[in-house]
């Protein structure tokens, strides 16, 4: 083990060096760029044998990943924002072909207006693309999750691509204390790769991407959906197995002081850490507040989430992306659906915050938390949906 001061982007580049995939194809975009640059350095210095393909666009980056993965290679890429949007067509083709590609997705807002800072509209736009999505709260989680991503993607029950999402600048560029494993440990954990049905098998030619019409298409999609559901179990198992070698165990939903909580906030990624600070403050004032953060977002861990919510009465859900016109943002909509199917009475309030990197201030967060508390006591009826930290006039 090594303890280093590193940014999440640096940690991903280092994890990629340790993993030494066969092929990396990527295109630069802020705030992902350093991942690609640092890894290109490892290639130039001969520290990895990886074939690095510096493509002319993200559409080609994902096309290279698709071709290379279907050919039988272990494949990694990284992108953000417009880059992910530009890949959109190919995201579905990667998952539809059941290709275990791993992507670092450094969350950034989508144009227009153009903005380079963090929100989750890029990955939320791809939430139905058939990729497993894991959101990381800090740089340590980014490093750890990136190493877990390959065994998840390549697991025989899954065989689906994985997106490891983390907050642009807030996490990608902040120097943090990170515990890193030795190269041997990492390689031992991910194991060697045995491709399933590779194109490059001269004795067993295979077809990828045929024309499948209404007579078979639904069976293909059904199998894909079932593989996605099986990922719940696999992500959990691999998170535990990772704990055994690193001392840092992972589940599907992270919770903070939820055991006896009456009210809670739910948020993805780094905001969950900020919410913990406020939960502590409220606890000091005698309010039993907790925080939950789904680590896994696709497949959605409904069961684990309900369990984590326990006996709370009111839940505030913070979304860093809107689903414009839906009346509820993506995380809240999924949590709402889980509560509804379980017949839960937990009341849910949804706020969109932090678009385009807008700071979520502690005071905004605190006043939202407090309004939940008052709602729990029947003293206030907050709006079910709204924006937090925005100019109202």
């Amino acid at each position: 083990m090594r303890v280093v001061a590193e940014t999440a982007n640096g940690a991903v580049a280092e994890a990629m060096r340790q993993i030494e995939p066969h092929v990396v194809a990527a295109y630069p975009i802020t705030p992902q760029t350093e991942v690609v640059e640092e890894f290109a350095g490892y290639v130039s210095d001969g520290r990895v044998r990886t074939r690095f393909v510096p493509v002319e666009s993200e559409h080609s980056a994902m096309s290279i990943c698709v071709g290379a993965s279907a050919a039988g290679a272990r494949v990694i890429t990284a992108t953000s924002s417009q880059g992910l949007a530009y890949m959109w067509e190919m995201l579905y083709i990667a998952s539809g072909n059941r290709l275990p590609i791993v992507m670092a997705l450094v969350n950034r807002a989508l144009s227009a207006p153009i903005n380079i800072h963090c929100d989750h509209s890029d990955s939320m736009g791809a939430r139905d693309s058939g990729w497993i999505q894991i959101y990381c709260r800090d740089a340590q989680e980014v490093y750890d999750t990136f190493i877990q991503a390959l065994p998840i993607a390549e697991h025989e029950d899954v065989r689906l691509p994985v997106m490891v999402c983390y907050d642009g600048f807030i996490v990608s560029h902040s120097l943090a204390r990170i515990e890193m494993m030795t190269d041997e440990r990492v390689r031992d954990f991910i194991g060697s790769y045995k491709a399933v049905y590779p194109l490059l098998d001269r004795d067993h030619p295979v077809i990828y991407g045929p024309l499948v019409l209404y007579d078979y298409y639904m069976e293909f999609k059904r199998q894909q959906a079932e593989a996605m559901n099986r990922a719940l179990e696999v992500v959990f198992e691999i998170g535990k197995r990772f704990g055994k070698i690193s001392g840092r165990s992972y589940g599907l939903v992270s919770s903070y002081r939820m055991e006896d909580a009456d009210i809670a906030l739910a948020a993805l990624s780094s905001t969950a850490r900020t919410a913990e600070v406020i939960a502590d403050e409220l606890r000091d004032q005698g309010i039993r507040a907790g925080v939950i953060s789904p680590r896994l977002f696709r497949p959605f861990p409904a069961k684990a989430l309900l369990q984590a919510l326990g006996g709370i009465k009111v839940l505030g859900v913070l979304d860093r992306a809107d689903s414009i016109g839906a009346g509820m943002a993506p995380l809240a909509a999924d949590i709402g659906a889980a509560l509804q199917s379980a017949g839960s009475n937990i009341r849910l309030y949804n706020r969109v915050y932090g678009l385009g990197g807008r700071d979520l201030t502690l005071s905004d967060l605190k006043s939202f938390f407090l309004s939940l508390e008052r709602a729990g006591q029947g003293k206030e009826m907050p709006a079910h949906f709204g924006y937090l930290g925005v100019r109202e006039d």
Partner: protein, 311 residues
């Protein structure tokens, strides 16, 4: 090099019949001629279009080799991905076979939506042969114009009306554009000259880098022709100098592979095709003359380029 038909006829076909291309479709002939020249293990990449949809209808396939279709704009980058995997697996000591890679895409997938991916992939120098089967329109979706559609040609998005007579403006010279990348091998070919086409494929497949062959392809409904005239048109395109057979090595050495004994008037090529029917009317004589003038100029420029080219 000589093509030995007797030996080729004994080979196991890598591209088989039973596909659903139209009777007389030139794309089938091209695929067959290209695949005849494959001797080493190969992976085929196929862009969305007629060839792809008709040869891969699940659970059937016309391909006796590994084959991948991923999307419409990215035939070049998809096959470049397969090639990159092959190189990596070799570098990791996990692969011994010497593979070849061939991409097939239509003119729409090459001249238009796939041009960026093609340019990027050949500039990066991946080992693959890219075959553009050029039927000069988006045939799969119903004969819409592409960047390869000739001036004044009918297409379903450039119909012949009272104001506009077919496609305004000429087609782009994609063969020259790829040659400007100064890649090892660029050529034009026609399935009507099978010997020339197959030799070109053989040359291209020996290269450890990118190569590009632009192949004219008669399309039965899109051109409005009879199935039996398909190869006749593939020859007439060449004998009218509308589609010269030539090759360019490293972007400089240019060779015309075939000089028609007698350069036929363009109308010989046009008059068999419904898409040019309006050009034979007196009122459109100017358009016809323009098209003929274009062909004449292009042919002369090509001859000049080849005569003056470095060897």
């Amino acid at each position: 090099m000589v093509i030995k038909l007797r030996e080729i006829s004994k080979k196991k076909p890598l591209f088989t019949g039973g596909h659903r291309l139209c009777a007389g479709c030139g794309a089938a002939v091209i695929a067959r001629q290209v695949m005849n020249m494959v001797d080493e293990p190969v992976v085929i990449g196929n862009g969305t279009g007629c060839l792809e949809v008709t040869t891969s209808i699940y659970p059937f396939s016309s391909w006796n080799v590994s084959w991948i279709h991923s999307a419409f704009p990215n035939t070049a980058s998809t096959i470049a991905g397969v090639e990159s995997a092959w190189r990596a697996l070799r570098d990791f000591g996990e692969m011994k076979d010497n593979y070849r890679f061939i991409a097939f895409a239509g003119d729409g997938g090459t001249y238009d939506i796939g041009l960026q991916a093609l340019s990027g992939a050949i500039e990066r120098g991946h080992r693959f042969l890219y075959v553009c089967y050029n039927n000069q329109a988006y045939m799969n979706t119903g004969y819409q114009r592409s960047g390869a559609t000739p001036a004044s040609s009918w297409s379903s998005t450039t119909p012949v009306g009272t104001k506009q007579k077919g496609k305004p403006g000429r087609s782009k010279d994609l063969t020259a554009i790829t040659a400007a990348h100064k890649i090892p091998y660029v050529a034009q070919a026609s399935p009507g000259f099978w010997n020339d086409l197959m030799l070109k494929v053989e040359r291209a497949l020996q290269i450890d880098g990118p190569s590009f062959i632009n192949v004219i392809q008669p399309c039965i409904p899109g051109w409005g022709i009879l199935p039996r005239d398909s190869m006749r048109l593939a020859k007439l395109a060449v004998d009218t100098c509308y589609w010269p057979l030539y090759e360019i090595i490293d972007g400089r050495e240019c060779t015309i592979n075939y000089h028609p004994k007698q350069k036929l008037p363009l109308t010989e090529f046009l008059s068999l095709q419904k898409r040019f029917k309006h050009l034979l009317k007196d009122e459109n004589r100017a358009l016809l003359e323009e098209l003929q003038a274009e062909v004449d100029t292009d042919w002369e420029m090509l001859m000049m380029r080849c005569v003056g080219s470095l060897r």
